[in-house]
């Protein structure tokens, strides 16, 4: 039971938004879809949700192409920052509209969530603040009962308390339904614990598709005097290096092995690793 992206490619007139991305999302996992702004995360989610069509490649659900396929699409819900849901609709109206399409849409659950977040269901989406609009969209996604739920920036505008509540609810729902959650977020350190697997996109290309723990232990950080660092890391795969005066800090792939005196070794957080892996070329 999985969604498979096969060499998924999307190009617009000016740029290549996704370049032959291939990955598999298993049901019953929580995955992180990470990358910088414009890396292609939203494009990927749009292609999975039949909102836009790939230039090349396909999205398969249990082996069946998802494109224009109502049966497959019923198992998928994509939530995003875009205004696809008409903003003048009331929350109540959106929730009751969903049951025409998602047979397992749980209206009671939606009501419970609205109460948990103190969201007034009679309000229109246009009347809500950014944070509450995000909350509303996440609630629609969670209540849809879909097997694969894509949340694109579900933390946008949410205060710290609401974020805590959101993570707890995702885990709760995950436990209940065994749905797959694919979450794109920029608050990586906060969410790192949630992800069993991470996909990292960089300028449309998939640069990492790993188990979270493997990813985190796949690199180390070495700090010290620049010459020493350069000497130590020569022959190693340096992901990125930055300088501070005569000192350097390099993020390197692999294990440190024997470390000479004068150099400090540490393990990067997932966020630091991501920053290093998706850094601009110029800074090196």
């Amino acid at each position: 039971m999985s969604i498979e992206l096969k060499t998924l490619t999307k190009s617009y007139k000016k740029n290549l938004a996704l370049d032959r991305v291939s990955l598999t999302i298993e049901k019953g996992t929580i995955c992180g879809l990470l990358g910088r702004n414009g890396a292609g995360k939203t494009t990927l989610v749009n292609l999975v949700g039949n909102r836009d069509f790939p230039t090349f490649g396909e999205v398969l659900l249990d082996g069946v192409n998802v494109r224009e396929n109502d049966k497959a699409l019923k198992k998928i819900y994509c939530m995003g920052a875009d205004d696809l849901i008409p903003v003048n609709m009331k929350i109540k109206e959106v929730v009751s509209s969903m049951r025409y399409f998602y047979k397992s849409a749980d209206l009671n659950y939606a009501e419970k969530l609205c109460k948990d977040f103190r969201l007034d269901m009679t309000k229109r989406l246009s009347q809500l603040s950014t944070g509450y609009r995000t909350i509303a969209k996440v609630i629609f996604a969670m209540a849809s009962g879909a097997d694969y739920i894509f949340l694109d920036e579900p933390t946008l505008g949410l205060d710290a308390n609401h974020r805590e509540l959101l993570y707890r609810l995702i885990l709760e729902r995950f436990e209940e339904t065994e749905a797959a959650f694919v979450i794109s977020t920029h608050l990586i350190d906060e969410c790192a614990g949630l992800f069993e697997r991470c996909f990292i996109l960089r300028e449309g290309t998939l640069i990492a598709d790993e188990d979270s723990e493997t990813l985190r232990s796949s690199a180390f950080v070495v700090d010290g005097k620049t010459e020493q660092v350069l000497l130590f890391t020569s022959g190693m795969e340096v992901i990125s290096r930055s300088e501070l005066g005569t000192l350097s800090s390099a993020c390197v792939k692999g294990k440190p092995g024997n470390v000479p005196a004068g150099l400090e070794i540490s393990k990067p957080s997932l966020q630091q690793l991501l920053i290093a892996m998706t850094a601009d070329e110029k800074r090196g």
Binding site: T29, E164, E175, G193, L194, E213
Partner: protein, 125 residues
């Protein structure tokens, strides 16, 4: 307000940190022998960590014999869990505390005699 969750660092794998966190609770007596340990679900939702990771951490405790599963009821702390953790940590005491202490002392030019002085209660200058 959510449970006061620890800040997990980046040095060790998350599941190992969860195991250690639970061990701390056992050694400090917050979780006593034959007391129930929070379920995977409860741990996952309070700590905001993927249940698969939590399960991995708890299974370490099961393997070490610190925790056992009562059919249909949940996970409980074993009789000699505290003793086991203490022994375990005693063995690791040298590597976990003494080695870094000696390394730092070396860096600062503090001799072994100075350290012994400090242990006796003086300032070891």
């Amino acid at each position: 307000m959510g449970f006061n969750s620890p800040v997990f660092n980046d040095t060790e794998p998350l599941y190992i940190q969860i195991a250690q966190w639970l061990e701390d609770k056992i050694v400090t007596g917050q979780l006593r022998a034959d007391e129930q340990v929070p379920s995977t679900t409860e741990l996952s939702q309070s700590l905001k960590i993927n249940p698969a990771t939590v399960r991995k951490g708890v299974s370490i405790l099961v393997d070490k014999g610190l925790v056992y599963k009562k059919r249909g009821m949940g996970m409980y702390v074993t009789e000699n869990a505290v003793a086991n953790v203490r022994d375990d940590r005693r063995e690791k005491f040298f590597d976990d505390f003494i080695v870094p202490l000696l390394a730092e002392a070396r860096r600062l030019g503090i001799t072994s005699e100075d350290i012994i002085e400090m242990l006796k209660g003086g300032s070891g200058k």
